[in-house]
Amino acid sequence: MIFEKRTERIFLAVFFVIALCIPLFLEDNSFFVGKTTTVMILAVFVMSLDFLVGRVGLVTLGHALFYGLGGYLFVILTPEYEAVNFWIYAIYIMGISALIALVVGIVVLRTSGIYFIMITLAISQMAYYFFFDSLEFGGNDGLFIFMKPETSIFGLNFLNLDNPTHFYYLSLLGVLITLVAIKVILRSRFGRIVEATRLNPERTEALGYNIFAFRLISYVIGSTLAAYAGLLFALQYGYVNPQFMTWEMSGTALVMSILGGMGTIYGAILGTITYEGLQYFFEHMTEDWMLFMGGAIILMVLLLRKGLAGYLEKLLEK
């Protein structure tokens, strides 16, 4: 069983049942279908960050770099007026993102602690200004996606990405795959050494493990998943721009993961839903929603030291 905790199993069962049913109730409200789709996509992004920060021990402030790359790579690599195959291009884009993450990782992982935070931030800001200033990539306006890809597998086509409900289910599938992939990796032999490296790097090295390699592979995995989330987000809204790569994007995801319960992975889903829900609520209540949002987050972080997942566990674990 890759889901070891009772709380985790209960939450995920409830979450997936509700998530599967949501479009049935919102059939004619495409705004909410779109909103929940965005939440699912963000959950993929936040889970990939939670894996790196909470489980590998790499506190990165540059994770949005790969979120943006997922979107930009799609627009750059596909012909403008031709529908490409989604699955083939998803794998293609994740492959290239993995290569970029490998190169970036080799550089940033030479540092640790506060320096790691600074260098990841610096590199993602460099990418941000590169796209911001580049004419061929649309500058501040970014690039538009004119044709959504088709999704046939061996001639069978279940999904139409122009249909918001179909797109919603594709994003939900992304959540499921990301969740299972991360949990399988964490339980694996590789995961054992990754965990050991987070708990005590010096000791792990003294037991004969090349901790740099373990961190690098983890960094590539987390970054690649983030690129997939970025790809989905770009496809949902039909554009990509430098805003995808801002440090606010990385920072917000970090807040979501802390809110949910750092390192719990399923907490990342919980944190994303809560954050987005609160933001929606406050936005519609008042102009000064940011003030309330900040207050709510400070309160929650103070009261729930182990995040929402930690609170749930206190209620449900005996």
Partner: protein, 255 residues
């Protein structure tokens, strides 16, 4: 005789700025022997050990393992050559069980650690080796206890079990008995007596009774320099050793 030298240092030195923590140390460590290292505080014992296991890079000098020069290698490569070490300050994974602590140590021997899919619990060899190491040091009743919850002495035993679980050919032990109770110490002494029949051991220890009892070879360091290496009796009767340990007290009295 020369063939059983498993680890050798040649004019090994470590300088921190102008301070010579260790100066021109040439030692030979033999197979199936326990080589004690003693000396007053600040003599450079831990510095020596840290260089032998690759954590510290020497300022000058060489280290040979089975005739191969290794001092420039990464620490994890030292372990892969069979050079296992324990730390002076307890260095374990406090958040996980004793079994998991040793499983991390043992995993590398049996399976690839870059497998992203196979469950970490699936390999029986790893588990057996981890349990065996725990039994060796006498922690058989603590296998499933979280390491933070066992006593300090037991944590020292766990530290030793982790080194054993890596299946080393040479053990570098930095004060393994520090902070242990009398009975725990006796247990470790008899364990080390057993282990030196199959392993080569370098032991840094403050407990003189233990080290006199265990050592086949004994090296005395003082102030970063090599005073003498010999059998326990040779060292005990050497005037320079007496001076290093007692001479300073004389000076203090004189002052």
């Amino acid at each position: 005789m020369a063939n059983d030298i498993i680890l050798e240092t040649e004019s090994l030195s470590k300088h921190w700025g102008g301070i010579k923590a260790l100066n021109d140390i040439s030692l030979k460590f033999h197979d199936r022997q326990l080589h004690g290292v003693v000396g007053p505080n600040g003599a450079g014992k831990s510095t020596l050990l840290n260089m032998l296991c690759g954590t510290l890079k020497p300022t000058s000098g060489c280290i040979f393992h089975k005739g191969e020069q290794i001092e420039g290698m990464k620490p994890w490569k030292f372990v892969r050559r069979g050079i296992g070490r324990s730390f002076q300050k307890t260095n374990i994974y406090t958040d996980v069980t004793c079994l998991e602590n040793c499983a991390v140590a043992a995993q590398r021997r049996f399976t690839g650690s870059f497998n992203l899919f196979a469950s970490r619990h699936a390999n029986k060899l790893v588990r057996d080796a981890a349990e065996k190491a725990l039994c060796q040091v006498g922690l058989d009743n603590r296998i499933h206890t979280v390491a933070a919850e066992i006593s300090y002495g037991e944590q020292r035993q766990l530290e030793l079990a982790m080194v054993l679980a890596t299946d080393p050919c040479i053990l570098l032990l930095d004060e393994p008995m520090a902070g242990m109770g009398h009975e725990e110490s006796l247990r470790i002494i008899s364990l080390l007596n057993e282990l030196k029949k199959t392993y080569s051991i370098v032991l840094v220890e403050h407990d003189m009774d233990a080290i006199f009892e265990l050592s086949d070879q004994l090296t005395v360091l003082d102030n970063g320099t090599h005073l003498i290496t010999g059998t326990v009796d040779e060292v005990r009767n050497d005037p320079r050793v007496k001076e290093a340990y007692l001479g300073k007290e004389d000076e203090e009295e004189a002052a």
